[in-house]
Symmetry: C2
Subunit: 406 residues, 2 copies
Amino acid sequence: MMKSLGLIVEYNPFHNGHLYHLQQAKKQSQADVVIAVMSGNFLQRGEPALVSKWTRAKMALEAGVDLVVELPYAFATQRADRFAFGAVSILDEMKCDEIIFGSESGKIEPFLKTVDFLRENEKEYNEWIQRHVKTGISYPAAASKAFATIPNRPDEAVDLAKPNNILGYHYVNSIRENDSKMHIDTVQRTGAGYHEVGHGTDKIASATGIRKTLFEGNGKLSEIEELVPPTTYKGLIKHQHEFGQFLNWEGYFEFLKHRLITFSADELSEVYECVEGIQHRLKDQILRSESFQSFLESVKTKRYTWTRLQRLCTHILTNANKEVMNKALREQPTSIRLLGMSENGQKHLNTIKKKVELPIVSTLSKYSDDFMEMDIKATNTYILGFPSRFHTTLWKQEYANPPIRI
Amino acid sequence: MMKSLGLIVEYNPFHNGHLYHLQQAKKQSQADVVIAVMSGNFLQRGEPALVSKWTRAKMALEAGVDLVVELPYAFATQRADRFAFGAVSILDEMKCDEIIFGSESGKIEPFLKTVDFLRENEKEYNEWIQRHVKTGISYPAAASKAFATIPNRPDEAVDLAKPNNILGYHYVNSIRENDSKMHIDTVQRTGAGYHEVGHGTDKIASATGIRKTLFEGNGKLSEIEELVPPTTYKGLIKHQHEFGQFLNWEGYFEFLKHRLITFSADELSEVYECVEGIQHRLKDQILRSESFQSFLESVKTKRYTWTRLQRLCTHILTNANKEVMNKALREQPTSIRLLGMSENGQKHLNTIKKKVELPIVSTLSKYSDDFMEMDIKATNTYILGFPSRFHTTLWKQEYANPPIRI
């Protein structure tokens, strides 16, 4: 029986830090096969991915991941708790033996203790959160404040004020919630700088930094060459050569404008997370904004954080209605979309296939459910960010193409 | 008391044929002032106008029209009967003494007789239309066939199989429907060729032909110079110089794609004229279409004519919902948007102002009603067809700008 390791990733794009994490996690777990559940074309912070999920899946496979499956949009673009729940559920369903995530400390005990403590004191914790939310701060800020104020918390508790710890916390919590038998552990993240990665010493920078360089620098790919594995670099070059541009929010701004000017406040309130009349602010500011960046700046408040608004804009863009998104608040994913596999991954898939209860979807045209319908809308929308001469081809490929094999 | 002449126009763009009609109508009516009710940014055939309503209003004023008022979107983009009804109602409300429209024959009697005959035999006529519609042909085709088959029609009846006669018929019919005291007459249209226009002999071509040359030729404006008055030519040059491009459906195709891929068949059925499941065909074909032109070609059938589909696409684009559009099927316009005036026009406006019962809206920010809300959505959408650096300025101008004065 092969031992399988599960990773929860966005790979936007796959860089040296990801490679380091992948290698450390493999070593630590002694796993024979690595399964990554990866966000599709829209990411947790409510952004379109730099390059498509296919390109990103290929980069992951070439770097040593064996199976890449898609985290459905309805989970991928949610707050940390549901993002984590969806991802952990899929890895559980894929019969993973262990999940390893990155953290500042590299120690799992504080996460386990914090989760157990807050599960025992759930009611009190939630009351504290609500109390802080009412003062007008954002939910994440309220949660971290609640945690700081709740009495009797364990000394070794993990610091939930740090965003990076929040996801880890929710991975552990989701395992408990699912009564999962999966083992969970963490490896220490590396900061920016030079580290032993791959076959030598490579420079590590964050994905955010890499994207920033690509869009704000003179857009020269060579500037990020030393920050990513050669396979990623090749993938980015190929994408740029084929499509001429990387994807970001600015490329979808016209569509957002159109939606906001033609939909009434009432109609917009059907969109998931469009609450408390925020759509009036959006409709107002869109008429004055020259870019997506300046638009979000003008709408942002203490309560409506950048990420929350960006996610809302993504839902407006993809027309993510409440029904399907709320379903992800209550239920587990209902199918598993396979994006790519190595030979090793395929061998493993054959051994677990019979035990996986959800449909494993290789080609889209043969299967659909509510979450997948939402994924199709999201992907079809994502494709609009490419130059228009590619639209029909990319739409067709999304339906017809089998998973990537390397 | 000044005698006022009303014209119902689109001026897309104002050309020598329009000038000829304007001059003939002025001569025939001996009017002191000319009021044009003009479609706004979207036209009766369901197309965005070549240049904005402001540019077109200016061209009209410079050619001799005294007052230009806007036909609201909810009437302007409807079938001939409601288009005519909205326009005639506005001219009636503006206290016009006479309406003159262009026709092949230049004789008003056949129109009057046909209208009277069909109003007397309305029930039978409608039954014939329904019978023909059921065979799967379009409504206009069915109406013209019904007219051909109805017994006892007067010998001198106007030929309702000719599209140009349909509008004239409905102008007359709307006058009857409104119990209006306005006189109505027609002047003969001139075909293509050279005619006495303005101060010399000018070449006349259709607006369709002119637009075709602008988009399909090498786009050189000089090719149409002899087909339009110098004032129009100057206006087109100015527009091209400022914005670089004229507006047509292809410039909105991306927005149509986005709407069709992100809205479910159910959601699309809320759009006006989205009936009989046509949205399934639209959703299907959009994924395969490289241009608006080829999209409409692929969706068109005997029953769904090009114009009907183009209007539907316009309504999808502007999110024209059933409520406001159906209101235009039952009610008259509720306000009059003034787009421009000459000195003579302003003098006239001052004399009639007190008698006009509807609000005359000079600046948008001070007034709104359901029809005008729809106009705002349509104009805001229309502006998206301009290069994006102009959007915020044009949106602002639409709210802030007073009518054009020459």
